[in-house]
Amino acid sequence: MAIGITSYGAYVPWNRLGPGTNGWTARTERAVASFDEDSITMAVAAAINCLDGLPRQDVGALYLASTTPPYKEKSNAATVSVAADLPFETLSMDFADSLRAGTAALQAAIDAVKGGSAKQVLLVAADMRVPQPRSEFEPVFGDGAAALLIGNSEVAVHLEDSCAVSHEMLDVWRAVGDAFVRTWEDRFVIEEGYLKILPQVISKLLDKNKLGPKDISKAIFYAPDSRRHREMAKKLGFAETQVQDPLFSTVGNTGTAFAPMMLIAALEQAKAGDRILLANYGNGADAFLFRVTEEIEAIRNRRGIQAYIESKRILPDYETYAVWRGLIDKAPPTRRPSLRTPSPSAMHREESKNLRFYGSKCKRCGYPQYPPQRVCTRCHAKDEFEDYRFSDKKAKVFTYTHDRLGPTLDPPLVVSVIDFDGGGRMFGIMTDRDADKIEIGMPLEMTFRKFYTSEGIHNYYWKCMPVRA
């Protein structure tokens, strides 16, 4: 029975640090999550892209992989699961602590489907690692997310074989309490770690399947940076045309999300019959051999990497990014009261409305409305409604303003009233927008964001933004 990838989706943040940024010294461009994003919100974006048009209730499990989850003891996968509107009967699981968590989750997903504990597993990897300012990592680290749906029917990318090794070493790590990634001496890290271990697992896999480098249509493998990526390609014996562009100069090294994101980038160009090698590294290594089937054409329209690469804003200055990451404690532009902590019991009660983003649709007159209403605002029918999900609906700007008083780390605060395609209207805070280019009637999509954190409690909700792609 063929088991493998049946759908994919990815997410690259809109904001970039790059040569146009005041105070940015590198020649690379890299994607940075906005002040209202984190690993959970990016994971939700990728997950929803992956599930576009598919019945959410058929997803049996969600695996979230990240080394930067917002909560250390509380399932982050559960939050992603609810925001992606997966059912209560979902196995949500958190994979953490390693750059290999994303591919470890991939193996686990394959095994779950093979073993029969789930018909489909949605695996999502997201990372937002903060490099120490002016370190060697700063030009390289990027933020992003990738989602893969693993199943056993209509498989677009069939997994033929895989293998893994485990390797204990302190080459690249963060301990509890460390703000930034730490490493040992580069010679040790690269020679004894990366360059030694990754090729071993690839050889093992290829040999076992009696294949050589020339049999591979596309090779996707982890590398800490572009120089090491070229070095590894050469060492493995792949030609430049065989190797998936690791996007180090546009997106960056996105940690746990890196391997799955580059896999998706490769799949966007792949055709039936292609043989794909995916290899990942992090305290060991794993490698996967995939064969692309005809079903790949049916998922050509998914929002992967391509959709997001060109949709971007180069941040005007490094200071903005530093404030977003809390590296600088900058005075706010206006004196505002501090936000009070939301009530977890109220948050729980409002989960369907606030996280799943359900409104109601009147069964009598058919009018969708948000927030959900027991009494229809149009025909006044009482308790005759069904759940209606707004998170995947498009909308248009009805009215808006630039609010220079309201609190935001990306001024001016753009608030708007938005009309959903198909009906419904709500007040929306707009994110990831060029404030000077907003117009009445402009098309919008919804995006899951972190509104604020108060006393360590994160408050998530939905904002609107100009359609990315």
Binding site: T334, R335, R336, P337, L339, R340, P342, S343, A346, M347, E350, N354, Q369, Y370, Q373, T377, R378, F398, T399, Y400, T401, H402, D403, R404, L405, G406, P407, T408, L413, V415, S416, V417, D419, G423, G424, R425, M426, F427, I429, I440, F451, Y452, N459, Y461
Partner: protein, 400 residues
């Protein structure tokens, strides 16, 4: 059969403190000062007061919740006292409580007092919705950054778009409104802001939430105002010139304005509905001809512009013509914001509704000094709390 409140209740005394940044005045000081002027004006003793209604908005600051700070500051002798709140319409809400108490026949002499110590909060304006608790616990999740100017600025954007006003022309119309109020403020000794501001000043002022700039937004102030009301048939026992309540209406948003897509965000439905109900209660058929003067809720200039239309005075989409013609100026046909309005008098939330009535009361009695209008007979107050699509509006009409 319910008949409404017209001519059942009379105001026989009113008081109002100076509004402003009164750093050295506590809420108790403001309460006492407004109360003192009120009982002297009514010519009554404190012990004559049979019940009291207090209006204040902020509850974790200012005078807190309940009535205790108020009843103890005034040493009210164990009489019924109620605190009432309805956002920025709180002042009128307090007056309503007092008037209905008298109209019900339960009491003959009742006090209504509104007070706010807004400058104790430590920042400009009202907090945004996450803290303002407009929607209670919900507001913190879903719209923690919706400020008051932001919510109203969106009405300006929609109004300009709907009626084809260019951003420049639209903003200039708003500027004329603010400039007019500032002129009135210079004639108003108790007002917070008392400086002429030209249309150009308003146009060039720093932007708060486009198109609203600094001079499109009302003053943030401390203050208190109060009234003593009694039965209409007893009023002349106290003074020869009582002012009668002709209408006292409140309309609260049903939610249709936000959840329908037909809402044009260029008017305030509750103002329209409260206005109709008030005119009906007062027996007014043609407001443009019959109302002599107004105090409407001009927290932002765009509000005032839409109020002209929502109160049925200017035709829809053409209030700017009346503005250009000076219709609402001090020397116009229906002077609005005669004492400077919220814009210049200031807006201590709990007190504003009563301050509006204070100006109408003084005008009707011929005691408005440099602002005195010629022979006014009917005055309208309009007091609004919330944002354009989700709000409460009170409309009161008083006359001789």
């Amino acid at each position: 059969m319910a008949e409404g409140i017209k001519d059942k209740v009379a105001i026989i005394g009113m008081g109002c403190t100076k509004f402003g940044e009164l750093w050295d005045k506590s809420p108790e000081d403001l309460i006492v000062e407004a109360f003192q002027e009120t009982v002297e004006d009514a010519g009554i003793d404190k012990k004559d007061i049979q019940a009291a209604w207090l209006g204040s908005h902020l509850d974790d600051i200012s005078i807190g919740r309940g009535v205790i700070v108020f009843s103890m500051a005034l040493k009210l002798p164990f009489i019924p006292a109620t605190r009432t709140e309805n956002f920025c319409a709180t002042g009128t809400e307090a007056l309503r409580g007092a008037c209905y108490a008298v109209a019900s026949g339960a009491y003959d002499i009742v006090l209504a007092l509104g007070v706010e110590k807004l400058k104790d909060v430590g920042y400009a304006g009202l907090p945004e919705s996450g803290n303002l608790n407009m929607e209670g616990t919900l507001g913190r999740f879903t719209s923690p950054a919706r400020t008051a100017p932001g919510a109203y600025a969106m009405m300006a954007t929609a109004y300009f778009a709907k009626y084809g006003l260019s951003p420049e022309d639209g903003k200039r119309t708003l500027a004329k409104i603010s400039s007019k109020s500032h002129h009135n403020g210079t004639l108003s000794p108790k007002a917070h802001l008392r400086r002429e501001v030209s249309v150009e000043d308003v146009m060039k002022a720093p932007i708060i939430a486009w198109p609203l700039g600094l001079y499109d937004c009302c003053g943030v102030s401390d203050g208190a105002a109060a009234a003593i009301v009694t039965r209409a048939d007893m009023a002349k026992n106290f003074r020869p010139d009582p002012v009668y309540v002709k209408a006292l209406q409140i309309a609260a948003s049903s939610g249709e304005e936000l959840l329908y897509t037909d809402y044009d965000y260029a008017h305030v439905e509750t103002t329209y509905r409260a206005g109709i109900a008030a005119y009906r209660e007062a027996g007014i058929k043609n407001p443009r001809e019959e109302i002599n003067m107004m105090e409407t809720h001009d927290c932002f200039s765009i509000n005032e512009l839409t109020q002209y239309e929502d109160l049925g005075i200017s035709p829809r989409g053409r209030a700017n013509e009346d503005v250009d013609a000076g219709f609402f100026n001090l020397d116009g046909k229906i002077p609005n914001e005669v004492d400077g309005g919220l814009k210049c008098f200031g807006h201590p939330i709990g007190a504003s509704g009563l301050r509006m009535v204070y100006e109408m009361y003084k005008q009707l009695q011929g005691k408005a000094g440099p602002r005195q209008l010629k022979d006014p007979k009917i005055g309208l107050t309009h007091n609004m709390g919330g944002t354009p699509p989700s709000c409460v509006v009170a409309v009161g009409i008083v006359g001789l």
